[in-house]
Point group: C2
Chain length 255, copies 2
């Protein structure tokens, strides 16, 4: 391993075989030494879940100059934890998740396994970035994302990120992008979340689906607005989730 | 269902059969109409994970005056989403997770399925509280928690919580408590996270374990300090994870 180049630890939640991951590798290859430790099957919607009740394992998939790829039986969060414990010989300079097939803007930051990767990186004190595109199309064209991913990744390598923060970067699906917007997490919620499935014999099952209802669709500061208007949305995310603004009020409750 | 009493939706990540849940029911019964929708097996460390790739189902376990209990094949987050879609006939007045067997202070807020319940409640716009005790002992005595749970729950019912915030309440394991402290999320990280298991034949597996290393052990504002000193720790949590303090700086990167 060439230790003069930045060491970049990569994972995702779509699995080690996904197009978004192989495109990310292509874009990041000129920038650093890449080690990929990604789930051995899709783990979408896994959030920061960890595997606590069974042991996990990992396996080398491919090694070539500058890129080593492992698959892991654990969650996206497990992949980062295990890579840092047993695969990497030094602390990585960056942790990167993606490119996710699906929008991780707005409240999706809470459910996303890709952002689970990034949050884990930030909790470990490593500058971390999640890249996602706002479509689940497995064959989407990622070409327009490349220059942005290279620029953002190089900026973070050069400048770092403050402790306990990371970046959630989402790409629109327009053929070209209008530029970058620094955003806030959109407010709103998922609605119509369950598809009812009635089986032969009459038993009822429920399959998660839904639409996101933006409660501030005209908020030009939000990541949803940026994406809807053709911009690359960069939302800085904190892993210190203390609601500081509520502390003084709560103190008056228990005087 | 008596609609004059507050409707309280309860879930957890230890499963519908856990002692922490049955104790919570006992404590909350005088306060409201309780509907429990809890996982059918343990889902510790599930964070805000959702089940996206298969349908889920739920089943009535027990119904008596004031308390109805369902088990669900999904994650803690799924339980709240599904309950609100198909089980409850109105929006609950509170969502409560717990009582979790295990500490959800500090960075554990990110991994906890109990806090997944609470975060989902907050994302749905419902005042939400997570209760946890700092031991994994399945037979721990919860008696001292009762009056605090009743007081905190009643306060939240009376006063509400601001949008996009919820409470993460952790109990120490001392036989009695010194009172309540309103806290910040402790800073620090998990270390020594993997136990290596070598199987016959030589294959190596890794089982998650670890110790939390507090980077500010003397910070009297932190939830860890409160718990270590015999206080009930209430940490207000935001589900708007935008790192607002970073927005202006990032804007200068992409001028």
């Amino acid at each position: 391993m060439n230790t003069n180049r930045p060491l970049i630890l990569i994972s995702n939640d779509d699995g080690f075989f996904s197009k978004g991951l192989s495109e990310l590798i292509k874009f990041l290859r000129p920038i650093g030494e890449l080690v990929v430790v990604a789930p051995d099957s899709a783990r979408s919607g896994y959030s920061s879940a960890m595997t606590t009740n069974i042991p996990i394992h990992y396996q080398l998939v491919n090694r070539e100059v500058g890129v080593t790829i492992y698959k892991c039986s654990g969650t996206p969060t497990d992949c980062i934890k295990l890579a840092m414990h047993t695969i990497l010989d030094r602390k990585p300079d960056l942790v990167i998740g993606g490119i996710n097939h699906g929008d991780n803007s707005a409240v999706n930051v809470h459910y996303s396994g890709t952002m689970g990767v990034v949050i884990e990186g930030a909790l470990k004190g490593i500058p971390s970035i999640g890249y996602s595109i706002t479509t689940h199309d497995l064959n989407v064209e990622f070409g327009a994302c490349g220059p942005y991913i290279q620029q953002i990744t190089r900026m973070v390598l050069e400048k770092g990120l403050p402790a306990l923060t990371c970046l959630n970067v989402n790409f629109p699906t327009t053929p070209s992008f209008k530029g970058v917007r620094i955003c806030e997490q959109s407010k709103g919620q998922w609605v119509n979340e369950w598809e009812t499935i009635t089986r032969k014999g009459g038993s009822t099952h429920y399959w998660l689906t839904g639409n996101f209802e933006d409660s501030e669709p005209n908020n030009e500061k939000s990541d949803h607005w940026a994406l809807a208007n053709g911009y690359v949305a960069i939302t800085p995310v904190t892993v210190d989730v203390t609601a500081y603004s509520l502390i003084d009020e709560l103190k008056t409750w228990f005087k």
